[in-house]
Symmetry: D2
Subunit: 349 residues, 4 copies
C-alpha cells in the first residue's frame, strides 16, 4: 500500500534492460555517443519538433531550474502558482540557477494558475519601471501539483497572456505522460502547438531511474542551456546511461503506456474511495494523484496497517473524528491489491 | 585501443548487478532508504570516520563544487593549480556554487601544487584587507591532472599550510582509488590523517555508472552541504540507485581492485612505450594516466588504426617529424590486447 | 506641492555644511579616517550599543540587501510583507545579495506583518525538510510602507516568533527617524531592546544626500558584512563624505528633529484632509506618509495645479466621480504653504 | 607629502559648488531629473557618442562590475592582467555581478596585456567545448595599474583580437582623464574609435566626491545595465547629487585639466627622483603613478618625516641597504611643496 510518491516505485524492466544493453564496451563521454543522438532524435520525433534543442538531466529540479535560467534574467520575475514544485520543493534551485530571479505567486484554481490574476500581475510588473523586477517567464505544471489538469485550451490561454507581456512559457512536465494520457493529446499539442516555449519532459516519476529531458522549441537558447547544464554539474560524463533510459522510454510508446497505467490505478482508487463514507476529495483527481480528507480514525487504521502516504494537511494527533488530508499518488507499478487493501481499510469493512 | 578517458569504459558487472538487485519493490525517496544508509556506513567504515557527513552526487563536478561552497565564502579565494579540473573542466561550476569565489592559480610541480608558492600567496591575500578576496580553501587533486601523485607527506605539508592560514583543504578524488592503490595507503591516511577536511570520493571514473561521495570530516558543515545539494538539483529522488552503486563499489574492496587494475594497465603501457624510440614522457606516470610526446607520424599511424585518445598539446597537422602530446588514460576494463596493439603501432613493428 | 517622496527634497543645510567642512586636505580612503571613526561612534552612542558593527552605505537597497545576506543563507527564506520595499522596489537586490534566498510573503495588517501568519509559516517551513528552503530571517519596516507604525511591543512579539524559529530579525529603517519621533522611543528601544538583530538606519530620506548605516548588534557577523559591502561595490573610497553626513545627522539630534518635522507636516496635512469631503484614508497615517482615496475630479484639479505625488492605485482616466488613491509623503523641508495650497485644491475652496 | 592614492585628496571646489547649486528645492528621484539629463548629454558629447547608454554609479567597482555583467555570461571568461583592479582590489565583485564568470589572467607587459598571449588563450578557450568556460569579454585599464599607458594603437590591437574571438572589450577608466591628458587624444579616440565597447569613465580619483559613468557604445545592452545597477543597489534615489558632480566635471574640460595637473605633478616628482642615487623605477611612469625601488634607509627617513604612500613590495624591516618598492600617486591637488619635501628626503640633502 505505497501511495507516497511516483518516485518511490521501481524502474521499469524495459528501462533496466536498456541500461544493461548500453553497457557494452566503450562510448565517448558527455553526450557525444550514438545512443544519445538516437534518444534525442526520438524526443524530437515524439514532439514533432525536428529543430528543438534537447538535453538530458538526471533530476527534475535541474531540468526546471536550468530551463528557467535560460528564460528569465536575474532581475526578472517567474510567475507561477503558490503550490508549484519550483516554489515548494526545490529549495531555491530556480533562484540559484537564474542568479536571483523572483518567483511571484499567482492565485491558482485547483492547482491551475488563474489567467486573469496572471494577466493583471504581469501588466502591473511590466509598468513598474526600473525599481521593481520585470516580467520574465511563466511556469505551469501539468499534471498540476493538485492532481488536476490544464487542457490544451487552457495552456493556450496562458501562453497568449505570457507572450503578450513579452515573456516565455515553461511547462514543468514531471508528470507529462500522465497528463498526455489523461488529455488524450499529443506532446506537440500540449506544448508548442499551445504556445509552450520549453518543457521539462519527465521520466523519473514514470518508470525511469533518473532522467528528464529539457525540450527547447526555440533552438536559439539551446547553447545557453548546454553551458548552464555543465556549469550546474549536470552534464553526465557517462552520458549513455541517461540516454539509454530515454531511448527505451520513448520506444513503442512505453512512456505513454506507463502514464496510462498510473492513471488507471488512480482512477480505480478514486472511484472506490468515493463510495466510502467520510471521505471527501479536495479536488477532482484527473490523473495519478489525489488529495482526500478523512477522519483521523481512518488515517490511524491505514498507518497501523502499513499504508504509506503523506499527510498533506493536518496531523494525526487529536480527536479521532477530526480530519486530515492524505495525498495519494499511484505509479505504473501500483498493484491492484494495494488499492483493494487500502480501500478496505478506509471503508472499515 | 581506447585511451581517451576512464569515463568512457563500461560499468563494472558487479555494479550493474547491484542496480538490478536494488530494483525490487518500493523505496522511499531522497536518501531515506535502508540501502542509502548502508552505503553511507560503508563509506564511513572505509574512511575510518564514523562521524563524517557523507552525501552522494551523480557527477564529480557537483561533488567538488558543492563541497567547495561549504568551505569558501563568496568573497574568498580557492587556491589550486592551473591545470585543476575545477579550473579547466567544470565551466565555472565552482564559481557558480560558491556564489562567486575566485580560483587563484598556484604554480604546480608536475601537477602538484607548489607548497612555497601556496604559502606565499595565502600570506599575501590574508594581509590584503577588505579590498581583496580573502583566503578561503585549498583544493588539490589526487591522482593529479598530470597523472602524478601527492604522497601522504606532501598532503600533510599542504594541509599544514592551509590550516595555518585559517583555510580548509579539499581533495578532489575523482581518481581516489587509483591514488590509494598506487600509494598503498588507506583512505584515512590519504585524507583526514593527512589533514584533508573534505574529499570527493570518485566512483564514476572507476567502474560506476555515475556516483561520487562527498565525505565531510567535520560534521558541522554537513547540513549546509545537504541543502546546497538539493538547491543544486543534485538530490536524487530515486536515491537508491546512487546508493546501490556505492554499496557494491565498497563491497569486498571492489573500488580498490578496479583502481589497481587500471594502474596495472597503465604501468604496462608506460613500460612498453618507454622502450619505443621517439617517445618522451612529459611527467613520470604514477597511476593510470600519462602524457607522451610522439612524432606526428606515429600519431597518424595510431589514429588511422582507430586508436582513441586526446591530443593534449600540438596538432596532427604539419611536418611529420614534429611532435604532439598524447594523453593516455586506462581504466579497469582496458584489455591487454589494446595495449599491445597500441604499442605495436607506436614502435612501428 | 511636492508630496511624491521624501527622497525628492534637498539636503539639509547642516549636512551640506558638514560635507564642505570635511573637504579639507587629505584623508586616507575606505573608512580608515578619523571622521568615519567619529560617525560610527555617534551611531553606537545613539543606539546605546558600544559593540555594534556599524557600516555606511550610500543607498537603502544596499544596506538592506547586504544585511539580509549576512542573516540568511542562499537556501533559506526571508519572511516579510507583500508590500515590503525589499519585495517591491529593489529589483531583486535581496535575492542577488543573498545568492538566491526566497522572499516569502506573509499577510500584513495595514503594512504590519501578521504575527500569527508569520508563526504558522515559519513552523511549516521549518518542518519541511531538505526539499524546501529553510527559515532564515524576518524583515520588517518601520515606518511601514503603508505609513503605519510597529510599536515596540509589536516588534518584540515579532522578534520572539523569529528567534523561537531560530531566525534573525532585520529592521528596514529607511524612515527610522520618523518612527522614533512618532513612537517617542529611543533607537535602542525600537531595536535591540525589542529583539531586533540588525537595522538599516536611514539618512537619505530624512535630509542626507545619500547615506544609510547598517547597525549589527551581534558583532560576530560584522566582518562578513564588511566583505560583502566591498564585494557589492559599496565601500566608498572617499569614505569621509559618507561619514560627514552621518556625523552631522547625529549631532544635536538633527536626525530626530528632521523626522519630527516631517511627521508634523504630515499630521497637519492629514488633519486638514480629514475635514475634506470625499476623501478617505486607506490606513490611519502615523508618521510622514498617507494613502488617501479621492475622486478623480480632485486628482485632476491637483495635477493641473502642479501637485506632485504618486497615484498609488487606480488611474486618473475615466468617470470623474470614480476614485483613485494618492500616496502623499512629507519630508523635513515641506513648507506649510504647500500643505495649505494642496488642501485648498482638495476641498475645492 | 601625501602620495598614497588619488582617492585621498579633497573634492575640487567646482564640484563642491555644483553640489551646493544642485541643492535647490525639489527634484524627482532615480535619475529622472533635468540635471541628470544634462550630465548624460555632456558625456555623450565628450565621447562623440550621441546614442551611447550612459549611467552613473558612485564607485568604480560598481561601474566596472555591472558593465562586465552586461558583457560576459556566468559561464564565460573575462580576460585581464594579473594586476588588474578587477582582480586585486574588488573583492570578487566582478564574479558577484556576473554570476560567477571567471577572470583569466593574461601575462602583462608593464601592466599592459600581452596581445599574443591574449590571442592564444582566447583561441584555446574558444576551442575547449562545453567542458570549459567560454570567452566572454576582455578588460583593460588605462592608465594601467602600473602607471603605464595603452596607446590608441595598442587598444585597437586588443580590440581586434577581442572581436575576432566574438567577445567585447571593456576599458576601466578609473584614471581616464590622466590617460587622455598623457596621450593627447580625445575620449572617442581612446574608446569606440579604437574598438572599445564600454568604458568606466572615472571621476572619483580625479576631483569628484564619488561618481563614475558607465558609457555603453552599443545601446542594445543599456537597459540590461540599468536593471543590474538597480539590482546591485547602485541606483541613487537623490540622483541629482551624482549628476551635479559629473556635470561640473565635464564643464569647460575640468576633468581634463585635473588629469593634466596630476600628471604634471607626477612628472615633476619622477624627474627629480631620477636624479637621486639609489632610486630605480620599476616601470617608466607615463601618467600620475610610479613605482620606485629605494633602500630601506630612505623609506624610513620618509616615513619618519610623515610621508604617506604604500610600500608596494618588500618590507621596511631588515637591513637598511635592502630595498623596498614605493607606489607614489599624485592627484590634481598635489602641492609643489610636497614634491620638493619628498625629493629632499629621498636625496638626503
Amino acid at each position: 500500500m505505497q501511495f507516497a510518491s511516483d518516485n518511490a516505485g521501481p524502474v521499469h524492466p524495459k528501462i533496466m534492460e536498456a541500461l544493461a544493453a548500453a553497457n557494452e564496451g566503450w562510448a565517448i563521454g558527455y553526450g557525444n555517443d550514438p545512443l544519445t543522438e538516437r534518444a534525442i532524435q526520438r524526443i524530437r520525433d515524439a514532439f514533432e519538433a525536428p529543430d528543438a534543442g534537447v538535453y538530458l538531466t538526471a533530476t527534475g529540479t535541474a531540468c526546471n531550474s536550468i530551463l528557467l535560467a535560460t528564460m528569465a534574467k536575474p532581475y526578472e520575475i517567474i510567475f507561477c502558482t503558490p503550490e508549484a514544485h519550483i516554489v515548494e520543493d526545490e529549495c531555491n534551485a530556480p533562484e540559484f540557477y537564474t542568479g536571483g530571479a523572483k518567483l511571484s505567486l499567482i492565485a491558482s484554481r485547483d492547482g491551475r494558475i488563474d489567467p486573469g490574476a496572471l494577466d493583471a500581475e504581469m501588466a502591473k510588473r511590466g509598468a513598474w519601471g526600473v525599481q521593481g523586477p520585470q516580467p520574465g517567464a511563466v511556469s505551469i505544471t501539468n499534471v498540476t501539483e493538485r492532481g488536476t489538469l490544464y487542457t490544451t485550451d487552457y495552456i493556450r490561454e496562458i501562453s497568449d497572456i505570457t507572450h503578450r507581456h513579452g515573456s516565455k512559457l515553461h511547462l514543468d512536465g514531471a508528470r507529462f505522460a500522465n497528463a498526455c494520457a489523461a488529455l488524450a493529446c499529443t506532446p506537440a499539442e500540449m506544448t508548442w502547438k499551445a504556445g509552450v516555449d520549453a518543457v521539462s519532459f519527465g521520466g523519473t516519476k514514470n518508470g525511469c531511474m533518473g532522467v528528464e529531458a529539457a525540450v527547447i522549441f526555440d533552438p536559439a537558447t539551446a547553447w545557453d542551456f548546454e553551458l548552464r547544464r555543465k556549469r550546474g554539474g549536470h552534464l553526465f560524463s557517462k552520458h549513455r546511461y541517461l540516454s539509454a533510459q530515454m531511448d527505451a522510454y520513448l520506444t513503442d510508446d512505453l512512456w505513454l503506456d506507463l502514464g496510462r497505467s498510473a492513471n488507471t490505478a488512480a482512477g480505480k482508487l478514486a472511484s472506490a474511495l468515493k463510495q466510502c463514507r467520510d471521505v471527501t476529495f479536495r479536488w477532482e483527481p484527473q490523473a495519478n494523484m489525489m488529495f482526500v480528507d478523512m477522519p483521523r480514525s481512518i488515517h490511524r487504521r491505514l498507518k497501523n496497517a502499513g499504508a504509506v502516504y503523506y499527510v498533506w494537511e493536518g496531523t494525526l494527533d487529536g480527536d479521532p473524528s477530526g480530519t486530515a488530508t492524505a495525498r495519494l499518488v499511484t505509479d505504473w507499478s501500483c498493484p491492484d491489491r494495494a488499492i483493494d487493501d487500502f480501500v478496505r481499510l478506509v471503508s472499515g469493512d
